[in-house]
Amino acid sequence: MAKVPVQFTLNGSEKAEFVDSGTTLLHALRDKIGDTSPKGGCHQGTCGACSVIIDGELRLSCLTLAETCNGVAITTTAGLSEAGVLHPLQRAFLEAFATQCGFCTPGMIMAAKVLLDHTPNPSRDEVVEALSGNICRCTGYEPIIQAVLTAARSNSQNAA
């Protein structure tokens, strides 16, 4: 089977792998590189659990071929905390009790991060829109929306 080289940065560190042509980024991250924070909830693009950030944009890693990611910078939820200190979004999800089973959580946090990176003080409607591609079956969404709004507030307080 034809192997193709893939080289990108993942959470700031250089990665180089050979993958089967046609391998999705989700499989490459999980099975080759060992970052299992993106989850495979549907492989259809309908649940958002596999969401990652590629060059600042939210993407579905299940519908992205790894070999189209050469040279890009990828962020996953596994890379958000630094030196054991949680990212404000992670802390807000914890404190708002916004996780239950936790399977959707990494994707939700990715979607929320992209929002806050571009819109530091989002309205509720903007949060709802940002999370709209991510399915949660446990929480009823409200705690997650509240966590994102809380993280935004704490960010703006820190900035002030």
Binding site: S21, Q44, G45, R59, L63, A111
Partner: protein, 263 residues
């Protein structure tokens, strides 16, 4: 066999590679990678082209040319395409919009393909290496076409473009139906020209020509639009699917058209 991806610098070479059985053109991946993931064994390989013109937007003299690889989110953010932002944002969630392309949307079967409905109302021209075709003709023969390279249309006059997507789930759900219209008004406020496109009301986006005709010369009032609403179901043949039945789609189409026209 592995699903190999072949990347070509030119659309011409990509078109040639697509002649091989089982190959599919890879745009944003939201359709073809999904099909492969779901075990569609008729897909045996992907072809794409990195030709730069596929990714550009050109706006000049009231005309717009959008390269086929331009994504929904790029369109929704583009300063000159503000009128279309609502239609571009109607496609998927944020991640899907960062991937889904304008070219790909032309191939999305109902209940998907909301942006193609907008393009139909705009009377867009679809470009391929084989030449250009009006979107209505293109959609009728869309599967098996050469790679779409561009979509072009005249920018609608201010406020003349309207778009409505009806879905069960908010803010992001697939369509019960979608409606796009381009209406131009005479100085007396009556409709001088009308194009109305419907999504999910047939096996592909369709024009509501009877309703368009019924609007000409009418004002956008409850009485003025009545005959258009009465005619909008002419020629529809919606599908029954998990979202809604054909009966329901036909029942609420005039209601939603009325709200779009009066809104």
């Amino acid at each position: 066999m592995a699903l190999a991806l072949q990347t070509f610098a030119t659309v011409k070479d990509a078109n040639a590679a697509l002649k091989a059985a089982g190959t599919r053109y890879l745009g944003g991946g939201t359709l073809v990678i999904r099909a492969a993931n779901e075990g569609d064994v008729s897909v045996s390989g992907f072809v794409r082209s990195t030709e730069p013109s596929l990714s550009t937007i050109a706006v000049a003299g009231g005309k717009v040319r959008i390269g086929a690889s331009v994504t929904m989110s790029t369109i929704s953010r583009h300063a000159d395409l503000g009128a279309l932002a609502k239609a571009a944002r109607a496609v998927g969630g944020p991640a899907v919009r960062n991937m889904a392309t304008i070219g790909g949307n032309l191939f999305a079967p109902a209940p998907y393909g909301d942006f193609a409905v907008a393009l139909l109302a705009l009377d867009a021209i679809v470009g391929t290496d084989d030449g250009e075709a009006p979107i209505e003709i293109f959609l009728a023969n869309r599967y098996g076409s050469a790679i779409v390279t561009s979509v072009s249309f005249a920018l609608p006059k201010a406020d003349s473009f309207r778009f409505l997507k009806v879905s069960r789930v908010k803010p992001k759900g697939v369509s019960v139906l979608s409606i796009a219209s381009v209406l131009e008004l005479a100085p007396d406020g009556t409709v001088s020209s009308a194009r109305i496109a419907l999504g999910c009301m047939a096996d592909r986006p369709m024009r509501a020509k009877s309703a368009e005709n019924a609007l000409i010369g009418q004002s956008l009032t409850k009485d003025g639009i009545a005959s258009a609403l009465a005619a909008v179901n002419d020629g529809t043949s919606p599908a029954t699917d998990p979202i809604a039945s054909a009966w329901y789609r036909n029942e609420v189409l005039p209601v939603h058209l009325g709200r779009l026209l009066l809104g």
